[in-house]
Amino acid sequence: MKALSGFKGLASRARVAWLLVAVILVAFLFYVIEEFGLSPVSLLEGGLLAMTPLALTAVGECINEKSGVVNIGLEGILLISSVAGVFGAELFGNGILGLMVGALTGAFIGFVFGVVSVYGRADQVVAGMGINIFALGFVQYLLMSIWGFPGIHLVQKRLMVRPIYTPIGQLSIVTIFAIIAAGLAHIFLYKTVLGFRIRATGESPEAVDVAGVRVDRVRILSSTLGGALCGLGGAFMPLAWFGAAVKEISAGRGFIALACVVFAGLEPLLALAAAFIFGFAEGFSFAVAVTPGVKEVIPFYFVNMIPYITTLMIVTIAIGRKRFPKASGVPYRRE
């Protein structure tokens, strides 16, 4: 056990080193931006906007995977809840309620996924992929069946969730919530009884079962919670960011969030940091795409690749011997 804790310390030291590297990189980027005449404030705003869905999704998935349930259907949950969020906002005439509808939709899909993987003992990777495929078709069906127009639906201006003006620029309340949620998730996982049970369920479901805790309920609960956070991130995209529900609105964000989770080794606070790096890369690409002097030289299509290339690079460099829960993705069968 002692050897293990030593190893853990080493791993976290390496993580801190990587975080430092990331901070230096970001500082360097700011310097470049200053040189090219981009506004750092608008860049930070863009980065924080792009961070929000990634952070919410990644934090949710951290909780989820800690309990031993791996959901790769995040992309699909983001897609469906974005449309559900817009529908909810129009139904209740209020953007905030729309966000809640999105979160509820995500929670429902997470709940179904939990039931399927706990009671159905499903292959979680296959079931998650099933959610992604389902979402791809279902979202287009929804857009067509509800609004009768293929592929896209614009959100009315009055339904958008307005940003708050702060000293560091405009911030969405969802962004602030995402940052708080990462902290709360950390406290929840490490300081509360239920958090301890979630972590124990991922490590050794047998022991948890013997101790009289219902493994099935813990896993379904954490899957629902993870789905709810992901759903909020999904509804955030049309209602507080893009202003439209589009059939491919998630654009790989579910998988980038998975990369955040892998990078963070299931730690919510590190997942938030990773989400900021990835989100910043995306915000950077948006800013570069419209900068005079740059947009003529670098084709728009290469700028579009920045988030994906960043993800690949960071995952490639930073991946190491991350310790994942022993029972990760393994269905628990009661003897």
């Binding site: 790769i72 399927v116 292959d123 979680q124 495929i133 791809l136 279902f138 299509y301 490639t316 991946i319």
Partner: protein, 350 residues
């Protein structure tokens, strides 16, 4: 194997797939009822549109051709213990390669088809290699890397089309394949071309390779039991690379089949509109076909039928055609549950 005997082991996959498909269709009907469509009318037109006449069946086969190949990409991955969902990006590159070779150079008629096909497959395999290398060297999980490469391929292919391969004067698509680089159309007025035979031959070839050769056995051994494979001296890294390359060849052929084997476009649109999501659909098809090259062919005909029939369903019953993709996702979720048949049997006995 002494004598071929049909035991329960052989039938079970068919029953499971059948139950999964039925459940998917039932849930799909529920989705129709929620939006006040009539599922019985919709399904009638769906299946009549898919298999109602000879020309419809030909069209269904044309839809099935690329799907059986992208399904093969995923299936080879699963047989080697990999979750390779990169068929989408590899397929884009394959389509681009075929379009470039078929539209930009001139060769004798028969040779030109072969060169365009081979170049598409080559580019597909080439695009699969980085994900394999990242997995081998750094242990990057292929679910993340292949998705990222899919998105990079999406933007990269569009860039190449617009900047280098666009038809002069028309930036929205590549120069069309020269008549000598096209697969012959099998029946006047249908979209089915001889490329379907290439696809079927490729699937059967991979089946023979996996189950009939030593190298194929090593591939499956790594997938079934990595420890045993390691103990037997099989290099799991080499197998991993081989699996990705074979998958890339299949995906590249799938992309090529849509350019030089599918009228009326004979070219690749700059939106990638005529190939997009074929790779993703292949994942569902592979899972319905139990990750088997031959099973994937039957599943591709089924799903190809849904895609073709959905157009008539949309026209006659008003149900938007994309619902069939949602149904295939539901089928996949149902198939992920290993004991679904047992669970249903128990419910009915009660």
């Amino acid at each position: 194997m002494k004598r071929f005997k049909i035991s329960e082991v052989h039938i079970r996959p068919f029953i499971q797939s059948g139950v999964g498909v039925l459940l998917g269709l039932l849930l799909g009907a529920l989705l129709m009822v929620i939006f006040r469509y009539d599922p019985i009318i919709a399904y009638y037109w769906l299946f009549r549109g898919a298999f109602g006449s000879i020309s419809d069946i030909m069209e269904t086969l044309a839809f099935a051709t690329p799907l059986m190949l992208t399904a093969l990409t995923f299936a080879i991955g699963v047989k080697t213990g990999l979750f390779n969902i990169g068929a989408e990006g590899q397929m884009y590159l394959g389509a681009l390669g075929a379009a470039a070779a078929a539209g930009a150079i001139t060769l004798p008629a028969g040779l030109h088809v072969a060169v365009a096909t081979a170049f598409g497959m080559f580019l597909g395999a080439l695009w699969a290699i980085p994900a394999a290398l990242l997995k081998m060297w750094r242990g990057v999980h292929e679910v993340i890397s292949t998705i990222m490469f899919n998105w990079i391929a999406f933007h990269f292919t569009i860039y190449l089309i617009i900047y280098y391969f666009a038809e002069p004067g028309r930036a929205e698509k590549t120069a069309p394949a020269l008549p000598g680089a096209r697969y012959p159309i099998l029946m006047e007025g249908s979209s089915l071309t001889a490329v379907v035979f290439v696809a079927i031959a490729f699937c059967i070839g991979i089946y023979i390779y996996l189950w009939g050769t030593k190298a194929g056995y090593e591939l499956r051994l790594v997938g079934a039991n990595p420890d045993a494979a390691n103990y037997a001296g099989v290099s799991s890294r080499r197998v991993m690379l081989l699996s990705f390359v074979l998958g890339g060849l299949a995906a590249g052929l799938a992309g090529a089949s849509q350019i030089i084997g599918r009228p009326p476009a004979w070219s690749l649109y700059a939106t990638l509109g005529n190939v997009i999501t074929l790779g993703f659909d292949g994942i569902g098809v592979a899972l319905i076909g139990r990750n088997h090259p031959i099973g994937g062919m039957f599943a591709a005909v089924f799903y190809g039928g849904l895609r073709h029939g959905s157009r008539l369903m949309e026209y006659r019953a008003g149900v938007y055609s994309e619902l069939v993709r949602a149904i295939s996702g539901l089928i996949v979720v149902a198939l992920a549950i290993p004991e679904i048949v047992a669970i249903i049997r128990r419910r009915f006995k009660r």
